[in-house]
């Protein structure tokens, strides 16, 4: 039992636990956390498999950026939003089963081919260009350059698409800070509104603040407690 297998048995179990936890969790945020946990464990496995570049990019890109954006969205959607139990996509279970099985088959065949076919081993692969990172760089920027560029174009298109979908046309030019402050100083109320109850007998939220001349200030009250024109009429009727 050498160091590599010790690390493998710890992180492999953790990764599987993380994957199961993701499925079992009822809260979306907990699921996202389990996925992040599984990803970090996978990254440790990559380290022991002598793929340090893959390990760090796994953490930076997937754990750090992708899962973080998921969390971001979940947090914006709301802490207590409940899951919808109605399936809106027609036949998604069938399709999901089909594609899941197909993907599993693909993975199995890929793993089987590496086990069954003769391969040259890590030393030869790394030795060609003087190291693991240099080897990856050579593959990406020479042999798979077109695929790399196409993928990046796809990602940029997706980002642009998201921006177009979220874009809202401005009908009026945006006010600058100078304009805003100028507008503010041209109104009758430059300072913040007074708090309710200032200088009054009570500090309750519906007690208007008293102005220096002793008259109550309606502006100090929240909107729903203010005496609107209607209320004015009503109170006049009562008093008269």
């Amino acid at each position: 039992m050498n160091g590599e297998s010790v690390v493998f048995w710890i992180t492999a179990i953790f990764a599987v636990v993380g994957a199961l936890g993701m499925i079992v969790s009822r809260k979306a945020v907990h699921s996202a956390l389990w996925v992040a946990f599984a990803m970090v464990n996978l990254a440790v496995l990559y380290f022991t498999l002598q793929a340090p570049f893959l390990a760090t990019t796994q953490i930076v890109v997937y754990t750090g950026a992708v899962m973080m954006l998921f969390l971001f969205v979940l947090m914006i959607v709301g802490v207590d939003s409940s899951d919808s139990l109605i399936e809106t996509l027609k036949g998604q279970r069938l399709l999901a089963t089909f594609f899941g099985l197909a993907f599993g088959g693909l993975l199995l065949s890929a793993i089987a081919s590496t086990v069954a076919l003769r391969n040259n081993g890590l030393d030869v692969a790394n030795g060609d260009y003087g190291g693991n990172i240099q080897g990856i760089a050579h593959l990406i920027f020479n042999r798979y350059l077109l695929a790399f560029e196409v993928t990046s174009a796809l990602l940029i298109t997706a980002a642009l698409g998201a921006m177009v979908l979220a874009h809202r046309e401005r009908w009026t030019p945006r006010k600058t800070q100078i304009e805003l402050s100028r507008e503010r100083t041209h109104t009758s109320q430059v300072t913040p509104l007074p708090n309710p109850g200032v200088l009054a007998r009570h500090n309750a939220v519906d007690t208007p603040a008293l102005l220096p001349d002793g008259s109550p200030s309606q502006a100090s009250l929240p909107q729903q407690f203010r005496e609107t024109a209607q209320n004015d009429d009503a109170s006049k009727e009562v008093t008269s």
């Binding site: 945020v29 754990t63 750090g64 950026a65 973080m68 969390l71 971001f72 190291g131 100078i178």
Partner: protein, 439 residues
């Protein structure tokens, strides 16, 4: 089973330590980080105190040095309040994630050259591998989880807003930070910290790559949530931000993480741009300045310079507005670093390529310069136009006559208006005929 197998040259010295030396290094780094935290908190309070014409803590121990230790003990022994609405598991994990990831980064920082520990020759660095600078970025991105989860798990609005702000802020500034590393990688031709230090034997990268250094320095302040970029915990708007609902030891862990992160990013800046443990110029004339245990002294001196800048910034600058801060990150820092990387890459490629004659290079550079000047001229024209409109408006305002009692209250003049003499009637104790004579 050797991760260092594919490394060239120098990295072969890592990974052969006996278990005792490794343990010693781990404990040593942990002790250094905790000590640095205590020292930094003390230094911060003293320096900010000086900047605000106060003395700062000076009672506990010599110069008040033990003040932060005492505060730490007090903080840990305080009552722990756990609010009702929290998601308890995540609430407890969040500060642990923050603190542990803060300590992890220092494993790849080179503190010195090879030294002899109990007769075993070993580099003063826990470990190093071909992508150790990327490892620092990776650990930093896990550290964000601590803050985000703390904000979410508190089950309260202000912490949630603080957590959201901080995740957006740290992700954006991590991009600028990563881009500022790229130029260093190109010059050092390696992503391992020890080889980057080795690459600065003759010239520090701060001289060669000043724009990268400036971008990194700005990004590192944003990344550690320190003033003027401490928007996730802006007390004026968010109470305490992500740690509003935390108390006692859990709060202490966040506090610790912030200061350890400060030390770590300062150490990274030293390693990448200031020659790491190499002695600064006048001292480097001394032959044995870069051997033995001395380099640790130079290293920590440089780190303390950065820490002082952190404190200085906090004592000087007001907090930025959030939208301006994000705009600065995405629309200034990232484009500038991309252009700078292009320039560095092109320059290095051309330098290594002998076939391109210098004359062609100069012509291309001249054309680019002309285009650049043209673009800046267009921008200048637009700015001029805007200034004209602004001036016209101010003139319009100035042309309206100044009324010092507009609306029945005394008011100051608008921009461009000239104030007139006061209309106040001189007050005298005597009766009116005397005043009349004086006027």
């Amino acid at each position: 089973m050797n991760i260092y197998a594919d490394a060239q040259g120098d990295l072969a010295i890592f990974g052969n330590d006996p278990i005792g030396v490794i343990l010693l290094k781990v404990v040593g780094i942990f002790a250094i980080m905790v000590l640095m935290t205590l020292l930094t908190i003390w230094a911060e309070r003293r320096v900010v105190g000086r900047m605000q014409m106060r003395i700062g803590p000076n009672r506990v121990g010599p110069f008040g040095l033990l003040q932060s230790l005492m505060d730490g003990i007090k903080l840990a022994l305080k009552e722990e309040i756990i609010p009702k609405g929290v998601h308890i598991a995540v609430y407890c994990i969040a500060p642990v994630i923050s603190a542990t990831t803060a300590f992890l980064t220092f494993a790849v920082i080179p503190l010195g050259p090879e030294v002899s520990i109990f007769g075993h020759v070993t580099p003063l660095q826990l470990t190093d591998f071909p992508v150790s600078v990327l490892y620092v970025l990776a650990i930093a991105s896990i550290g964000i989880y601590g803050i985000v989860l703390a904000g979410w798990a508190s089950g309260s609005t202000y912490p949630l807003l603080g957590g959201l702000r901080s995740s957006a802020q740290m992700i954006s500034y991590e991009i600028a930070m990563g881009l500022s590393f790229v130029a260093v990688f190109m010059y050092a031709q390696s992503m391992s910290t020890s080889q980057i230090v080795a690459g600065q034997e003759h010239l520090w990268y701060i001289v060669l790559l000043l724009p990268s250094f400036v971008i990194y320095t700005i990004a590192m302040v944003g990344e550690t949530n320190r003033a003027p970029f401490d928007l996730p915990e802006a007390e004026g708007e968010l109470v305490g931000g992500f740690h509003t609902e935390y108390s006692s030891l859990k709060f202490a862990l966040f506090f610790l993480a912030e200061y350890v992160n400060m030390v770590t990013v300062s150490a990274m800046a030293t390693t990448l741009f200031l020659g790491g443990w190499r002695a600064p110029y006048p001292i480097s004339m001394w032959a044995s300045a870069n051997t033995g245990w001395w380099p640790m002294l130079w290293f920590f001196a440089k780190v303390f310079v950065f820490l002082f800048v952190f404190i200085w910034l906090r004592g000087t600058l007001p907090r930025m507005r959030y939208d301006q801060f994000m705009k600065f990150g995405w629309k200034v820092l990232i484009p500038v670093s991309l252009v700078w990387i292009m320039i560095v890459g092109a320059a290095r490629q051309l330098k290594s390529d002998e076939s391109v004659p210098t004359r062609t290079l100069l012509i291309v550079a001249a054309i680019l310069l002309v285009i650049g000047v043209g673009i800046s001229y267009i921008f200048e024209l637009r700015a001029q136009k805007r200034a004209d409109i602004e001036q016209a408006r101010e003139e319009l305002e100035a042309s309206t006559e100044f009324d010092p009692f507009a609306g029945g209250f005394p008011v100051p003049p608008m921009p461009g208006q000239t104030p007139q003499a006061s209309r106040r009637i001189p007050v005298t104790l005597a009766s009116s005929p005397v005043t009349g004579e004086e006027q």
